[in-house]
Amino acid sequence: MSDDPFEAIKVTFFQECSELLGDLETNLLALETGEGDIETINAVFRAVHSVKGGAGAFGLEDLVRFAHVFETLMDELRSGRKECDDVTVKTLLRASDVLADHIAAAQGTGAPVDAARSAGLVAELEVLTHGKATPAVAAAAPVVADEDDFGFKPLTLDLADFGAPAELPSLDLPALDLPSLDLPDLAAPSAAGWRIVFRPHPRLYASANDVSLLLRELTRLGQTSVELDASGLPSLEALDAEDAHLIWTIVLTGDVSEAAVRDVFDFVEMDCDLSITALDGGSPSVETALPPLPVLDAATAEPEFDLAALLAQAKAPVEAAPVAAPVAAPAPAPVATAPKPVAPAAPAPAAAPPAAAPSAPAAVAPVTIRVDLDRVDRLINVVGELVIQQAMLAQRVMESGLARSSDIALGLEDLELLTRDIQDSVMAIRAQPVKSVFQRMPRLVREVAEMTGKRVRLVTSGEDTEVDKTVVERLAEPITHMLRNAIDHGLESPEEREAAGKPAEGTVRLAALHRSGRIVIEIADDGKGINRPRVRGIAVDRGLIAEDAVLTDDEVDNLIFLPGFSTAETITDVSGRGVGMDVVRRSIQALGGRISISSNPGKGSTFTLSLPLTLAVLDGMVVSAAGQTLVAPLSAIVESLTPRIEDVHYVGGHDAVIRFREEFVPMVDVGRVMGFRDDATTLTGGVVMIVETEAGSRAALLVDAINGQRQVVIKSLETHYRQVDGVSAATILGDGSVALILDIDALVIAGRRKSNRPELKMAS
C-alpha cells in the first residue's frame, strides 16, 4: 500500500481494469456463442467506458484513445444502429486483447503496445463504426474534441489540489477562465461590465437549481447589483408553487469576460431566458446601495422569496460593506416595497435538513473486505503452529497414560476438531477460483491459432474450482505453455484434419476439478497425439534412454518431460523459446504437483496436472524407515499390508515385486533409496504401503513401521535447506522432531534407477 492516495487509487484502477478485462472477455465470449443479449452489450460498453474514464483521470492518453474508439463502436451496437454480427464480435475480441496490452503498458507491466497492431484495430473498429475509416487526424484526438463543448478540457488530477482545506476558493477564480476560449470577442473582457436579464423557467427549479446560488456565483466575478421584477407574480390563491414568475436583472461590473458570465449559467442556460449585454460607456456607479430587496412573506415557500437571505449570502463573502444601488434600470419597476437590509451573517438556506445522524453503514458497506495478504499469511503461520502444538499436546497426554475416555483426552479430541476447522477456514481465505488464470487463455489460444494458421476452439470447464492463491498464480505459466504446445504440436492444420476425417477446427479442452484432496488441471487436444517412434528416436539420440530399453507407451509419452528433450525440430515462434516440457514439470513439482501425459495416436493427447490445494498442510501417514521418521502423503496411499514372503518375487532375478491383488507391483525399499542405510532390508516386521503415482502406476514402499495418520504442517525444505530428491518438504511432529515428507513419484523413479534391486534379505 502506498502512502500516496493518488498512487493508491492508481493501484485500485489497475486492479479494477483487470476485473473489467475479465468481464469483457466473458461477455464477448457470450456474444460469440450467441448467448449474449443487449445487457451483455451494455456490460461490455460499461467495462470499456470505465477503463476509459479511469485512464482519463490518470492522463493515460494512449489507453484513452484506444478505449474511446472501442467505446464508440460499442455505443453503436448498444443503440442498435449497428448489428452485432460474427465479424464484429471477432474484432471486438481482438480489440479487447489490444486494450489489455494498452493497460499493461500503462501499468508498466507489459511490453510497449504494438503500435501497428493497435492502429490496425483502431481502423477496423472505425470501419465497423462508420462503415469507413475516419481520417487519421480525426482519430488522433477524438476525446479532446468531444469534451470541448462543455468548456472543459480533460485535465489530469493535480495532486496539489488534494488535501486543500474545506474553504471556498478565493474570489479571483482563475478556474473560471475557460481554457477553450475560441471566440475572441467572448474572451475579451469588458471593462465596463454586463447587464444580465435572467428569467428562470419552471424546469430550472425542478432540476434543483437555485437562483440564489447563481447570483452568488455572479457576485464572485465582480460587483453586482440586482433587481427583481416580481410583477408577473400572481396572487397567492392563483399561485402554482412549481411555476416560475420572477425576472432578475443583474448588473455586473468589473473586468469579466462574457464567457465567465455564461459559464455561471452553464447548467441552466436551457432552462431560462437569458440575455447578456455589454454595458456601454464606462463603469456604472457601483459604489451605491444595493437595491432594497423585497421580502414577500406571502410566498416564502417559493424559492425566489429566499432572495433576501440569499443575496446576503451571495454578497457576504465578497465585500464586507459596499452598498450598491441599482444602476440605471430599464428593468420593470422594482417591487421594492419594503426595503430590508439584510445582515451579512444570514444563514444559508439549507437545501436539505441535516442528515439524520444514525447513518446506515450497511447501506454502503461492501460484502467483501480486502485484506493484506501478509496478514492472512501470518494467520496461516500461527494456525500452523497451533496444529503442531495441538499434536504435541495430544502426544504428551497419550504418553502420560491417561485413559482414552478421560475428560482430558476427550477434550483434546474436540480441540483437534476445532483446530482442523480453524485451519480449513483460514485456508479458505486464501482459496481462489482458477478463473483468473483460465480467463487469460482464450486470448492466448486466439493468438497462437493466428500464428500457426490453425483453427482452434477452446472449451473450458471448472473455472470456479478453488485452490490456494499461490497455486493459482503459479498455474498461469505452465498452463500457457501446455496450451501453446497443444496447439502448436498437438493439433494438425485444418487441411490435415479434414484429410484425417476430423472437423477442420480443433478442440482444446482446459478443465479444472477437485480429485481426492488435490486440484487436477487437464489440457486435452483432439490432435494427432504423440508420435511415439519419433519421441523414442529422439530420446535415444540424445542419450536419454538406452537403445534397447523396453518402455511402455506411457513411459514413451512421458519421455517428453525429460530435461534436454524437445520434439520441435525447428524451434517455432510459438512453443519454442527454448523452454521444454521439463521446465514445466519442474515448476509444477515446485508446487508439490505432478504432471503426466496420456496420448492416443490420431486422437489427441491429454496433459494432467495434479496439485495440492494448499501449500500449507498435508494429510500424511507417519512411517519409519531405517530409524528415520518420514511422512507419506495420504492421498498417494492406496493401502498398507504386511508382506508375506511367498508374495515377493524377483523379476529377472533381482527386481523385487510383490503380488498385490493379482498384480505385481515393484517394491521400493525406502530406507535404502533414501540413503539412510546401505544394506538390504529384512522383510520381517516390515510394512508395505501400496502407493499410486500421479501417472496411475503403483508401487510398494517398504518401510519398517507405520506410526499413524496425522495432519502435518508443510515446511519447505528448499527455503531452509535445499531440494532433496525423493523429498518434497519437511514438517515438525508432535514430539518436536523434524520429519521429511516423501515425494512418492520421485521416490518410485529413484527406486527404479537405483539398484535397490536384489538382496532383500529374506529373514526366515
Binding site: 470505465s50 474514464g53 483521470a57 493535480d158 474545506a166 478556474a175
Partner: protein, 121 residues
C-alpha cells in the same frame, strides 16, 4: 455543518477519486455502486448533494435521478451528473431526468469541488 455528498458510480477507481477529492475539500462522502444501491443510500443518508455516473448496471444514472425526483424528500436535492458522455443528447436526457448540472470526466479536484460548490446551498 459538514455537508454530505452521495456519489453513485460503478467504478471503484472513480469512487475512490471522488472520495479523495471531496473529503479533501471537507465534505462527508457516502457511496453507492449503482442506481438501485444509490436510492437505498439516498434514503438512509439524506445527502445534501448527489453526484452520479450515467452508465451503471442494474439502474443507470437517468433512472436513478428520476427515482430521486419522484421522492418528495429529494425533489430539491442537487444532482450532478458525472460522465464522459458529452454529446448534447446525453446532456439533454440528464436534464430531462432532473439533473442539476454535470461534471465532465476526467475532472480535476478543483473543478469538481467548484461544481459542487456551485450547486450547494
Amino acid at each position: 455543518m459538514t455537508k454530505t455528498i452521495l456519489t453513485v458510480d460503478d467504478s471503484r477507481t472513480m469512487r475512490d477519486m471522488l472520495m479523495l477529492a471531496l473529503k479533501g475539500a471537507g465534505y462527508r462522502v457516502v457511496q453507492a455502486e449503482d442506481g438501485v444501491h444509490g436510492l437505498e443510500v439516498l434514503r438512509a443518508e439524506n445527502p445534501d448533494i448527489v453526484i452520479t455516473d450515467i452508465n451503471m448496471p442494474r439502474m443507470d444514472g437517468f433512472g436513478f435521478i428520476e427515482g430521486m425526483r419522484a421522492d418528495p424528500d429529494h425533489k430539491a436535492t442537487p444532482v450532478l451528473v458525472l460522465t464522459t458522455e458529452s454529446d448534447a443528447a446525453k446532456k439533454q436526457r440528464a436534464r430531462e431526468a432532473g439533473a442539476t448540472g454535470w461534471i465532465v470526466k476526467p475532472f480535476d479536484p478543483a473543478k469538481l469541488v467548484d461544481a459542487v460548490r456551485r450547486v450547494a446551498a
